[in-house]
Amino acid sequence: MEHGTIRLKTGLAEMLKGGVIMDVTTPEQARIAQEAGACAVMALERVPADIRAAGGVARMADPTVVKRIMDVVSIPVMAKARIGHFVEARILESLGVDYIDESEVLTPADDRFHIDKRDFRVPFVCGARNLGEALRRLAEGAAMIRTKGEPGTGNVVEAVRHIRMVQSEIRTLCSLPEDEVPAFAKDHGAPLDVALQVRHAGRLPVVNFAAGGIATPADAALMMQLGCDGIFVGSGIFKSADPARRAKAIVAATTHFNDCTVLAEVSRDLGEAMPGLEISRIARDERMQERGW
């Protein structure tokens, strides 16, 4: 009997496909998310919009918060560790969380190295803005990738930019003559063996979700039509006027992403979405997507 294999790690992500993973900060919110049809929840102390507003150093959530959320839902529970903070990750692993997000939403703990994720029994998801970043995370042992987008903004433009970038670079990689692949890998800071794997399959070898700015059912369907495998919604649900209703609508839009009649129906009367942020108004050194190396 084997535990913690890469197949088990990537396999759980496969089971989450076509689903919505929602940020929650309390057991009540976790229940609302599960009731709305979330395929997993991300247990946090504060959603990204509040982290952004609060400033200062953002760290792993209090284990009590994570445990209380694990106790009330039957769906998988994820939690965030700081980039490079392998001790936070070990703590979350010992709590029994089902997935760890090594996340740029929290303040990085290491300005050069990410966590060596191969060494853990629990699987990891990591953010990426381009193919090189995704492949570096895979080489470190990530079992799932998500776009970074720009968290806590309710503005989908960065998530769109990132998925388009990843796909465009995959297309380029696949079209290159064999002898140019090593130079491509070098230019993108990508390990050659993982680059060759992507070139062979024509896609990332793991599930790729959208994250960072999704606030409406139409945003979710947009990311799915652009080729994402599923959706993370951070602040978009519990910073909106009617979280339960919006959560359910985003779940429906993620399943029926190609059916405009359904999208029109579920987009009606949702109340106010979360207030949005224009990306150009955020100073470059305050953009969470710049974190990670």
Binding site: E2, L16, K17, G18, I75, G96
Partner: protein, 203 residues
């Protein structure tokens, strides 16, 4: 080349690993189609309910009015195969849960029976129904059956708890053959569809 005489298998595509099931079935020579709406049930001769989150898929089945049409097709003889979440949704009884379900398989299921993700495992399992070679089974936050009715035949177990069963035209496994290269269970299910006199098509 896939012949038109091959049965068309629907894969429920509300959420979960439907892409992997389609790939496995197509490698066995079947035609497949993704099913998200009740009217799509008319074109299929068998249905696979994939792994995913059973609460999510159950709610979507209820919200999009698929539960009753699906039960009708199954009672009319259409073979259905459920893996993991699919197995949970087929069961009549789900321990500690009132989540929506199809309730066709006379059994009581325990969700996440082995624990959380860190307890997920791979193991070689005797599965004589599909051959003498053991089946490499991938269990991810997997369920087990606590009780099975008189018409349910147990095909494989872990520590005495059923993890693969058949009841007439229903097949269910708590593990994920779609995550391995072993096609024997998909072949077995396709045989079930081919052996169904009407091929499960509505008359």
């Amino acid at each position: 080349m896939v012949g038109m005489s091959e049965p068309c298998i629907g894969v429920l595509a509300l959420q979960g690993a439907f892409r992997e099931h389609r790939r496995a079935l197509e490698r066995c020579g079947a035609r497949t189609v993704e099913v998200r709406r009740a009217d799509q049930l008319n074109q299929i001769a068998g249905l696979v309910i994939p792994g995913g989150e059973s609460t999510t898929i159950g709610k979507l089945l209820a919200d999009w009015n698929l539960l009753e049409p699906l039960r009708e097709r199954s009672r009319g003889g259409m073979p259905v195969y459920g893996s993991c979440a699919g197995l949970i949704l087929l069961c009549t009884d789900i321990e500690n849960s009132d989540q929506p379900r199809l309730g066709l398989l006379d059994a009581t299921v325990r969700r996440n029976a082995f624990g959380r993700q860190r307890d997920s495992f791979e193991a070689d399992l005797p599965l004589p129904e599909v051959g003498t070679e053991p089946f490499h089974a991938v269990f991810i936050r997997a369920p087990v059956l606590l009780r099975t009715g008189p018409d349910v035949r147990v095909l494989a177990d872990v520590d005495g708890r059923p993890v693969a069963v058949r009841q007439g035209t229903l097949l269910a496994t708590s593990f994920h053959p779609e995550l391995t290269e072993d096609l024997r269970l998909h072949d077995y299910f396709l045989d079930m569809v081919r052996e169904t006199p009407t091929r499960g098509q509505p008359s």
